[in-house]
């Protein structure tokens, strides 16, 4: 019998009703969470205890070993692999952020076809359909297939691509991304070939050196091997009792390395090679207390007449300073000269790089022993494993030429984002228009995938198999292992497996790619390795290789002998003052383009940790800054936060002014990384892409620009307190020496 609700007892019922509702709502919801045990527990897993899996970081080409903390099948934290010879348990900011690539919300969860390039109308398809489509297109293209890849590609994928293209008669894959040119991989190898007889990247034993002159090399920032040089830097400073190394940095805009140098010299952009040449000339013509009498003799192999005043005028380094540099270098026991990647972006890159590497030659490198320059030993492994060969910019232009001529029917793009990365003048848009079918393997739709017809999203590196032959490797050649640390998301298929499947249907390819899947391929490659430091003998080599993070020999090979000299050009070495592109009247400033330490060349922009962390030198996040000297800002009448247009002969971008004290007044500095229009929610519509200011030639470091105000001003998303910007944290005084 339901009680009747009357006006009199309404409140009574309402209270009881409210009370009951509150009671129900306040009960602990965790009681209705179910606890689901494993059906078959993996042997190594205990509840609440994490397991760690070793793999290799692929956020840049360095190849640091990592271990990943896994709990309940989720990757929670990445750390450096303590056993790995390259990074010895340490890791940089980009490496730490890799988890956000694995769990990025903008990852494609299935292959897609795009109806109309650039339309962003994607239709999800089944993997079978995607693979069949790729197969059909490849079969129909014969030998008119081209492959463009990035420099962080796994060696085994490059090997498979190489065998596939060779089998069908197509050209070898082109490996190109901005890091290839901005780190100078190809140019450095060419110079080492000429000077030292081996086409290998140089490595510098910074930790044991006493005097280091760096010609614009940002060792401590994103360069050839940030983590390893960071470790070496620690040793360089306080690793040896009673000895603290002395570092000189020559660059127009202060980098992290410049900030840590004992002497920072703001050299005129592009003139670093002239300083090196001046030092060579001085060593040849002076006498001094050198520990090695051959230095003078070797210097004479390169030297010409000395004109200190002319060099001083051109470079901005005074004669006194030049003499000082020559003296400390020539008299040091273990001196090092390190060339910056920027030198490879000059018109006469070869001469500038040769001048710097010649300094190492002069002091007897490569000689083995501590504190010197060595040549990366990965060629010792060339018979065992294949590794990606970075292509020069001219090789890339050859590929674009073929595309424009209609000679490419199918283009495969893996790990590279050329629509974002290449200068407009290279004509990529025109070239793509002539390619009937473009396939991207990008896991997140980037600018290039947005111009593709089919996207077969690859697994991210934390879910991938593979290996990386370290380049540069330091004392030991290393093959760093890669394994999935979690079950791949979305049933993503690896590009290597997709290609192996497709190859089975192409008779010429099936002969050379007979493996059922990439793991079978990898096992066969690894099984032929000799006994290494951690891999034991035949029976467990694969397991140990995965468990410890790779293969490396127990001891370094015998040190290389003194350099052979047959390929040297006759003296004098003539480093020409570079001709900057753009008329000085119209474009009054030198453009100093540099790689962002968090965003890299743009590949890190889709990761919120990297976007939101303050840039180390400017403390700004999410934005593109146009850095200029405060005096220059005053002269042209702009202030912090002012929106300006930066224009070069090749393009124009917008950015926000940031007055940066440690840079030359005649230079404008812009970091790479922003300016995406695709690539996910964290990357798109932030900042501008300074790569658009560069023209279609390898000399990316010799462009002039102009800066004009738009009249608008924005608030900088800045972490520090900067006068005139906003209030922030108050303490300005630096307490130490």
């Amino acid at each position: 019998m339901t009680p009747k609700i009357t006006r009199r007892n309404f409140l009574r019922f309402a209270t009881l009703g409210a009370g009951a509702t509150i009671l129900a709502g306040c009960a602990n919801p965790r009681r209705w969470v179910t606890l689901e045990p494993y059906v078959r527990p993996p042997e190594e897993q205990l509840a609440g205890v994490a397991t760690w899996y070793a793999s290799t970081c692929r956020m840049c080409p360095a190849g640091c070993g990592i271990i990943v903390r896994i709990m309940n099948g989720r990757a929670l934290k990445i750390e450096g692999n303590p056993e790995h010879p390259l990074n010895q348990g340490k890791l940089c900011a980009r490496g730490q952020a890799g988890l956000q690539l694995l769990y990025n919300p903008d990852r494609l969860n299935a292959p897609v076809v795009q109806s109309g390039r650039g339309s962003h109308q994607f239709r999800a398809i089944a993997w079978e359909e995607g693979i069949n489509t790729l197969f059909d297109k490849l079969q129909g293209a014969g030998d008119q297939v081209a492959v463009l890849g990035g420099s962080s590609m796994s060696g085994h994928l490059y090997d498979i691509l190489g065998r596939l293209t060779s089998a069908i008669g197509a050209s070898a894959p082109v490996i190109y991304d901005p890091l290839v040119s901005m780190n100078g991989y190809v140019a450095l190898k060419d110079v080492d070939m000429a000077l030292f007889g081996k086409a290998a990247l140089p490595t510098y034993d910074l930790g044991n050196a006493d005097i280091v002159i760096s010609f614009g090399a940002d060792l401590l920032g994103p360069g050839l091997s940030q983590v390893r040089y960071g470790i070496e830097y620690g040793k360089f400073r306080s690793g040896r009792l009673g000895q603290r190394g002395y570092l000189v940095q020559l660059e127009p805009h202060q980098s992290l390395t410049g900030a840590k140098a004992d002497l920072w010299l703001p050299v005129q952009p592009g003139m670093e090679g002239l300083v090196a040449q001046a030092i060579i000339d001085l060593i040849a013509s002076h006498s001094f207390a050198s520990p090695d009498p051959l230095r003078v003799e070797r210097a004479k192999l390169f030297a010409g007449p000395v004109d200190l005043n002319k060099t001083a005028a051109a470079t901005g380094i005074s004669p006194t300073e030049l003499l000082h540099l020559e003296q400390i270098f020539a008299e040091a026991e273990r001196p090092l000269a390190i060339p910056g990647g920027g030198l490879s972006g000059l018109p006469d890159a070869n001469a500038s790089l040769t001048a710097v590497q010649a300094l190492n030659f002069i002091v007897g490198m490569p000689a083995g022993g501590p504190g010197g320059m060595s040549l990366s030993p990965e060629d010792q492994l060339s018979k065992l494993v294949v590794k990606p060969q970075p292509s020069s910019f001219s090789d890339l232009l050859v590929l674009l030429g073929k595309m424009k001529a209609g000679a490419v029917k199918v283009l495969l793009v893996l790990g590279s984002n050329p629509v974002y990365e290449l200068p407009l003048q290279a004509g990529l848009a025109e070239a793509l228009a002539k390619v009937p079918y473009v396939v991207s393997f990008a896991p997140i739709v980037d600018e290039t995938a947005a111009q593709a017809d089919l996207i077969l999203p690859d697994r991210t590196y934390l879910e991938s198999w593979g290996y990386d032959v370290l380049s540069p490797a330091f004392d030991l050649p290393v093959v760093s292992s890669q394994q999935p640390v979690v079950t791949p998301r979305f049933d993503a298929r690896s590009a290597a497996d997709v290609l192996l499947t497709v190859a089975k249907g192409i008779p010429a390819a099936a002969k050379v790619l007979s493996w059922t899947d990439e793991v079978a391929f990898l096992k066969e490659v690894i099984a032929q390795f000799p006994q290494g430091a951690v891999t034991g003998d035949n029976g467990v080599i694969w397991e140990r290789y995965l468990q410890h993070g790779g293969w490396w020999p127990a001891a370094a090979a015998a040190p290389q002998g003194p350099a052979t000299m047959q390929a040297l050009p006759p003296p004098p070495l003539q480093v020409a003052a570079p001709q900057f592109l753009g008329d000085a009247g119209q474009y009054p400033f030198f453009l100093h383009l540099y790689v962002s330490s968090l965003l890299s060349d743009g590949r890190g922009a889709n990761l919120p940790w990297l976007q939101a962390s303050p840039d180390p030198l400017t403390t700004v996040s999410w934005q593109t800054l146009v850095e200029i000297n405060p005096a220059t800002a005053q002269k042209i009448g702009v202030e912090d936060g002012e929106v300006v247009k930066v224009s070069s002969p090749y393009g124009e971008i917008e950015g926000y002014i940031y007055t940066y004290p440690a840079m030359r007044p005649d230079t404008v500095a812009i970091a790479t990384g922003q300016g995406h229009i695709d690539y996910g929610r964290y990357a798109s519509q932030h900042g501008s892409n300074p790569l658009l200011l560069v023209g279609a030639q390898p000399a990316w470091a010799s462009v002039r620009v102009n800066v004009t105000s738009t009249g608008r001003k924005v608030k900088l998303s800045i972490f520090e307190w900067k006068p005139g910007v906003e209030e922030g944290f108050p303490n300005q005084a630096f307490p130490g020496g």
Partner: protein
């Protein structure tokens, strides 16, 4: 059974710190620290438990950046502790840490006000971790919601776990068993961590050997920080 009293101490060698920022990202990953949008940062609401303060020393052309990593100093006599009306922040006499108990915090922000190092951060909003990114969250650390103060804890979850694991293995904690995320990742080895009560620890040795280089931030305030900095530059041979 008497458990040992730890005096967790960090040494930051300013000569080695290159300002690379690996520690900043490592801390975000380990401690579920949310990221802020461009807009929020313009409103001075950036949150980084450890930050690299970058100062300029000198004027062009003799100017260089100097890096100072700053996180909660774990003061022995913390100004933030005495002002919390609900005792959400207090001192651990056995770990010598300044503790933050998130579930007790009501968000008066008085502690942030009193903190001279400005290392305490307030959650103005519920953190917005996109769906798939929540897979990465560390289950050993609370995910804070709006209205809660947070700060560096010296990765106390790692300290506690190491202590429990040592107990279950029947061994005592040794130097190097506990390593916060920032210390673990730092490539030049600028950060060193350990128990100062252990005379054989790295931190004790470093302070003995490099006493002339060491200093603490704002020492004259009498906060007794647990972080010792070693002077940078050629302050040592």
């Amino acid at each position: 059974m008497a458990l040992p009293v730890h005096k967790w101490t960090m040494i930051i060698d300013l000569d080695r710190c290159t300002g690379c920022g690996a520690c900043v990202v490592a801390c975000h990953a380990e401690n579920n620290v949310p990221v802020q949008t461009e807009r929020e940062i313009t409103r001075l609401r950036a949150m980084h438990w450890i930050r690299i303060e970058r100062y300029w020393q000198g004027a062009y052309p003799d100017v260089q950046a100097r890096f100072l990593p700053v996180q909660c100093q774990q003061c022995g006599d913390a100004p933030c502790e005495s002002v919390c009306p609900v005792y959400a922040t207090n001192h651990s006499p056995t770990e010598n840490l300044n503790l933050q108990t998130y579930n007790r915090c009501v968000g008066t922000r008085y502690c942030q006000n009193n903190d001279p190092y400005k290392v305490r951060f307030f959650n103005f909003f519920d953190p917005d971790f996109e769906d798939s990114l929540t897979n990465q969250l560390n289950p050993d650390v609370t995910v804070r919601t709006a209205g809660i103060m947070e700060k560096c804890t010296f990765c106390v979850q790692r300290i506690r776990r190491a202590e429990e694991d040592a107990l279950s293995r029947g061994v005592s904690l040794k130097d190097g068993d506990v390593i916060p995320a920032c210390v673990q990742t730092c490539p030049p080895g600028a950060l060193v961590f350990g128990n100062l009560n252990d005379p054989n620890s790295q931190v004790a040795a470093a302070l003995r050997e490099q006493e002339q280089r060491s200093f603490r931030l704002l020492e004259s305030l009498g906060t007794d920080p647990a972080i010792y900095y070693l002077k940078g530059g050629s302050s040592h041979a």
